[in-house]
């Protein structure tokens, strides 16, 4: 019965979404309060009904209801409960339901919390949000119903892909979707503004918290996915430039640009049409990600089952939403410019450079990701793949100047900055950064010049961020208690920026350390073999069979010594899941701040050798790799800190924005 309730609830949600698509926006056109306010209730109704559907599907998974096709295909009665729950969004249909659920959550949040938004803007925004709802609800109901039944029901399910049975990955899609879909609100705001034909500071102030929240989730989602790849895939890498990784990274890059350009729109009234374009682009790239993952368009390890019919439907949705919003943009944007003038050397100028670099980087990633498709279409069937060499060679040089400008930017004042004065302040930062890099060089020796250049830039960023923060609270200029008082009075968003920018510097250290100074050995080991790597002596004592809840594993044992002292035992596993008939690697990691010693067991050396205990072992030492996760955490914390800023707090600046809404942008 429950699945039918879920199915029915989706139908009701669609009905509400259809009403919400028309009534509020019409009400805004004829200035009818009642019609506009109907969005309030329909948005809440949608989230309730989609929530019921989601709960119904989850309960089918929890109860292992094998009359539901989706449960049969993605679950198994032997699976641990956590993964039964997580399997709810493990399939195409289930993840789509989660997608729509989050979409309606954001719609309801705008309805509930957006009291400070001008009523007409809010009504239009909610209508646009409902258009997206209609698109995805029909997609789900017509092509991908998660509640389809099967008769006769099988005795047990086929199990979820074992690679995906992992705590990190169970949380990865919800976070990523909160990010992707969170940008839908920003998109709806942008389209509403285009329909209205004006953008002002108040608009930018409404948009920023939503963009920031979505960005925080997306950052956390990407970092979690990357962390999962690091310890689960067994290759010791955390980023592979796989199409599916790229499609999550592009909205992040655009969203980052959007956060910064919205500041200019809010504070200086400039970059209006650019901010609108970024808002549209960010969500368009999120939709593109949804499309690529589900259409089988590109080769990827992450892709869902290929179904051209579904692909065609999403492409239609894409054409309507992206094509429609771009057409609207082409029509309205030219009338929208104007606003604060500024000199090239100014805070605005710095943020412009930031935006240009981020946009170029996004374009590069997009081009690299889609190039195999372009190439195949143009040559009529030839295939090629674009891998890490392209992305590393193109993306890194584009981003390095950004890191430099990030150090400089916060020192520039709005409108017109004094480069000499800023240079004076940054002189010591530059000297200290060079000194610190030389110290690193003296300690490490060896390695490419580019590695040290990136380290220099990361130090530059870190120290200039700290310098700027110290300058704001006048640390060392005034008494400590006075500096503390100033720090407390500083807006949260300023602290947020400091934390996030410092987080990026930390992340860069991890990125460089773990890729440039990585040591890697791939070799055959027999019991008793000794390997030395990066100053560690590792002894392989053998492998034995162990049994897990729904898998059987070969577990290797490695004793790790340094300078004759025993440090730890690593137990990498190779797991075989009989139901899903597939194998995963479970790497073993000795993690310290200095770096990770990472071991993973691959195939037995040959078919017979397995019995004799010889295995292929991959062992790596990745210096500073944990800085990546720490840096990512700081990025997220910085975002959250900024989100709690008084000015951004949703609902708080009611008085000011109500005035702002009265002032036309032109």
């Amino acid at each position: 019965m429950t699945p039918e309730i879920g199915h029915f609830a989706l139908g009701l949600a669609l009905a509400l979404a259809l009403i919400q698509s028309v009534l509020p926006i019409w009400g805004a056109a004829r200035n009818d309060r009642l019609w506009m306010n109907s969005a309030q209730w329909s948005a809440l109704g949608q989230v309730v009904f989609v929530g019921v559907a989601f709960a119904a599907l989850m309960s089918a998974f929890i109860k292992s209801d094998f009359t539901v096709v989706n449960v049969v295909e993605n679950s198994n009665s032997f699976k641990p409960m956590l993964f039964k729950v997580a399997a709810t969004w493990g399939s195409h249909e289930g993840s789509l339901l989660l997608w729509v659920f989050i979409l309606t959550i954001f719609g309801a949040l705008v309805a509930l919390l957006g009291n400070n938004i001008a009523p007409r803007t809010k009504a239009r925004t909610l209508s646009v949000q409902a258009w997206i709802s209609v698109g995805f609800l029909t997609f789900m109901l017509f092509t991908s119903n998660p509640f389809d039944r099967v008769f006769p029901p099988p005795l047990d399910g086929q199990d979820l892909n074992p690679l995906l049975q992992d705590v990190g990955l169970a949380m990865h899609p919800p976070l990523l979707y909160l990010g992707y879909v969170g940008f839908s609100i920003v998109f709806s705001f942008a389209v509403a503004a285009l329909i209205e034909g004006r953008v002002d500071a108040a608009w930018a102030r409404w948009v920023r918290p939503w963009a920031l929240a979505a960005w925080v989730f997306l950052t956390a989602g990407i970092a979690l996915g990357s962390w999962w790849a690091y310890y689960e895939l067994g290759w010791g890498g955390w980023w592979f430039w796989d199409p599916v990784e790229n499609v999550s990274f592009m909205p992040w890059l655009m969203g980052t640009a959007l956060l910064h350009s919205a500041i200019v729109t809010e504070k200086r009234g400039a970059f209006k049409s650019w901010t609108i374009l970024l808002a549209i682009l960010t969500f368009s790239l999120s939709l593109l990600g949804t499309f690529i993952v589900r259409s089988g368009l590109l080769t990827s390890v992450h892709a869902f089952a290929v179904d051209p019919q579904r692909g065609l439907y999403i492409l239609g949705l894409l054409a309507l939403s992206i094509g429609g919003s771009f057409a609207l943009y082409a029509w309205r944007a030219p009338t929208m410019e104007g606003g604060g003038l500024f000199k090239p050397v100014s805070r605005e100028g710095g943020l412009l450079v930031n935006n240009l670099i981020l946009a170029t980087a996004t374009g590069t990633v997009l081009f690299g990701t889609l190039y195999p498709l372009f190439y195949e279409a143009i040559t009529g069937g030839d295939k090629l793949s674009v891998g890490p060499p392209f992305f590393n060679a193109s993306f890194i040089p584009i981003m390095l100047p950004l890191v430099f400008v990030m150090g400089l930017g916060p020192f520039l004042s709005w409108k017109r900055a004094d480069l000499v004065a800023s240079g004076q302040r940054l002189k010591y930062v530059a000297i200290v950064s060079i000194g610190a890099t030389l110290v690193v060089w003296a300690m490490v020796r060896g390695g490419p010049v580019l590695g040290y250049l990136i380290i220099l830039l990361a130090f530059w960023l870190l120290f200039s961020v700290l310098r700027e923060w110290a300058m704001r609270i006048r640390l060392f200029d005034v008494s400590f208690s006075e500096a503390w008082r100033r720090a407390r009075n500083l807006p949260r968003s300023a602290h947020g920026m400091t934390v996030a920018h410092a987080g990026l510097a930390v992340l860069i250290f991890g990125l460089v350390g773990s890729s440039v100074w990585k040591s890697e050995e791939i070799l055959f080991v027999k019991p008793g073999d000794e390997i030395s790597i990066a100053g560690f002596d590792v002894t392989f004592t053998g492998a034995e069979k162990v049994r897990g809840p729904n898998f059987i594993a070969d577990q290797g044992t490695l004793e790790v010594y340094r300078d004759g002292t025993w440090l730890t035992t690593l137990k990498p596993e190779r797991r075989f899941y009989p139901v899903a008939q597939s194998t995963t690697t479970e790497s073993a990691i000795r993690s310290t701040m200095a770096g990770d010693l990472y071991a993973s067991l691959s195939e037995p050396a040959s078919e017979q050798a397995g019995a004799q205990g010889a295995w292929t072992l991959r062992i790596l030492y990745e210096p500073l790799v944990n800085f990546i996760w720490i840096g990512s955490t700081l990025l997220v914390l910085g975002g959250i800190l900024s989100l709690t800023d008084r000015r951004l707090r949703v609902g708080a600046p009611r008085r000011r924005s109500a005035q702002g809404a009265q002032v036309p942008a032109e």
Partner: protein, 190 residues
């Protein structure tokens, strides 16, 4: 001018969308690898031996001299599955006296030498493809990859990935057997 700029996103989106529409053709499988070389003459190539190894190098002409079909295996010391596959290939040479040639793909000669010293060298010729040029000629998708070439230099079969496990070895042996029959017929015909 501003109008043109404002139109640019739409135009780009339409072009990209056109490619997407093309890409959704249900007959198109992005994972399938075209085997353009099958039934075609093997590509022209000439590779020096691996420095420091006694095994001679490999060129196209060498493919024609053997009795019956030859197996050309592309391997590298940095490739993990190649290790697993090595035993299968060695058995092929030892049990069936199959002629096996190797293309050592983008590998440092000293690494390759060490690798072969450790595992044994079943190859009667090995060409060192440091630049990856021959790999392009052969249309490699990755390493390892194994080709069966008829006595007249025609590429008869291509196996992508390691020939490890019962199923893969079976498939490959069947292909090799078919190639031997085919080759014998060709020999009688001419």
């Amino acid at each position: 001018m501003i109008r043109v700029f404002a139109l640019a996103p739409l135009i780009i989106a339409v072009v990209v969308g056109g490619f997407f529409l093309w890409g959704l053709d249900p007959d198109r499988n992005p994972n399938a690898l075209p085997s353009t070389l099958i039934s075609q003459p093997a590509p022209e190539f000439s590779l020096d031996p691996v420095a420091g190894l006694d095994t001679p190098g490999l060129a196209r002409a060498d493919l024609l001299q053997g009795q019956g079909p030859v197996v050309v295996n592309v391997f590298a010391s940095w490739c993990v599955p190649c290790r697993a596959e090595h035993a299968v290939l060695t058995r092929l040479v030892e049990d069936e006296n199959q002629t096996l040639f190797g293309i050592n793909y983008k590998d440092k000669p000293e690494d390759a030498t060490r690798w072969l010293a450790e595992l044994g060298n079943p190859y009667s010729r090995i060409g060192s493809d440091l630049s990856g040029r021959a790999g392009i000629e052969w249309g490699l998708a990755g390493v390892p990859e194994t080709f069966i070439v008829g006595g007249d230099g025609t590429v008869l079969y291509r196996y992508v990935g390691p020939i490890v496990g019962e199923k893969a070895v079976g498939t490959f042996r069947d292909a090799l057997e078919a190639a031997r029959v085919w080759d014998k017929k060709q020999g009688q015909g001419s």
